[in-house]
Symmetry: C2
Subunit: 244 residues, 2 copies
Amino acid sequence: MLDQTGVDSRLPLYLQLRDQLAAQIRAQIWQPGQPIPSETELRNTYQVAIGTVRRAIETLVAEGLVERTHGKGTFVRKARFDNSLFRFFRFESADGRPLAPRSVIVSRKTISAPPRAAEVLRLKPQAKVIELLRLRTVDEQPVLAENIYLCEQRFKALAGMEPAQFGDLLYPLYERECGQIVASARETLTVETVTAAQARLLGLKENTPVVVIERIAFGSDGEPLEWRQSRGAASKFRYSAEIR
Amino acid sequence: MLDQTGVDSRLPLYLQLRDQLAAQIRAQIWQPGQPIPSETELRNTYQVAIGTVRRAIETLVAEGLVERTHGKGTFVRKARFDNSLFRFFRFESADGRPLAPRSVIVSRKTISAPPRAAEVLRLKPQAKVIELLRLRTVDEQPVLAENIYLCEQRFKALAGMEPAQFGDLLYPLYERECGQIVASARETLTVETVTAAQARLLGLKENTPVVVIERIAFGSDGEPLEWRQSRGAASKFRYSAEIR
DNA sequence: TAGTGGTCTAGACCACATG
DNA sequence: ATGTGGTCTAGACCACTAT
């Protein structure tokens, strides 16, 4: 029925099919923005009922891997998701024009994982991780300081590149250079007073309150890919969430 | 097919059925915690295919109105949702026991709606609203100050009651006394420094940073029911959210 | 063992997008 | 006109829960 490339045949059929499709998306066999085969085609190639195909695709839609449009088709979703952190800090230039945040990598090191990083990324205690310190600016003003941890295994390619070449957005970089696609994230917000080092980085007075956004970013298989802490002045912060 | 009590017959069948079922849940014909009729029963009474019944119920599940358990049935969900705001502030007593927050209504007035309240609750500019000021305490210590606005029409019953009788949780009260069930909410978080009045209420020093949680609570029909602003010391704050 | 929801089939027909 | 996804039917069979 389905060829058995690593799918668990104890799962319901529609989930086995979902896994097959997800695997092909992950393997970039169907490129982001491009359509996947139609329901009828999938029914033929996998020899299952059309309803089962639909169920599998509906699952992928719910997970955000694909998008459907009525008469057009089912398309692999581009990871537009990035930058979404940034919308939580509101910065408006005087004339209200939209402002593009810039990023500077302040440092990049390969170190053995701090205990908390290893725990969050589900690595062995002394596993290697890449640590990035990154500063995000708007109109030359520093606004966000970020500590980012990545599993060295998965993100080897970044250890060899010039940090200046990383560009302003990391998630497209992860996708392009390391084949790692961020699909979802969990964020935890707290407020603390700024440390001396961070006050210097951000150009804040000491004891200013800062918001800390701790983010764990997950791949479409649910594995944690990135652990990130972002700090910015609390006074410029705004965050929205839906409940239920 | 479906009897036409206010459902839009231009909608797909499964949505018409969803609306019918949702109406009966709202009308308390099926009580929270109790099962709704089985798929087969619904198929018979409404004369639609079983798949259509399933689709309608799946929609209700997604909206959080009912819960399904395999061999048991489909149950109207109890609004356990309450109290969820409170989990965003972490308070631990010295011995780590779980602490029940207490509530005190500091004031209750019926006033004509402030502009922002009217806007949020989608009322006419000078419509009457009930304004509650409420203080939440843990171990006798004040921790959260809340301003709450409710449409007077919908929540008439509260204008007549003794505020001391309200109890510690408002949402069950809304449900019991006014038949209003909160199904979802949108929260927006910001940080500001405390005003003198609130500093007094919360027992904080002036200029302490506080987190403001502005919440709009919606009924299952998507109508805004309550507008609430909660303020608490930023140092005791913790908030989690899933993205995508 | 009976009753419930969960999976799966094999279609028909409709609505939307595009050439 | 063709091809896509969206709705709907009328079942069969399986898995879970309770008695």
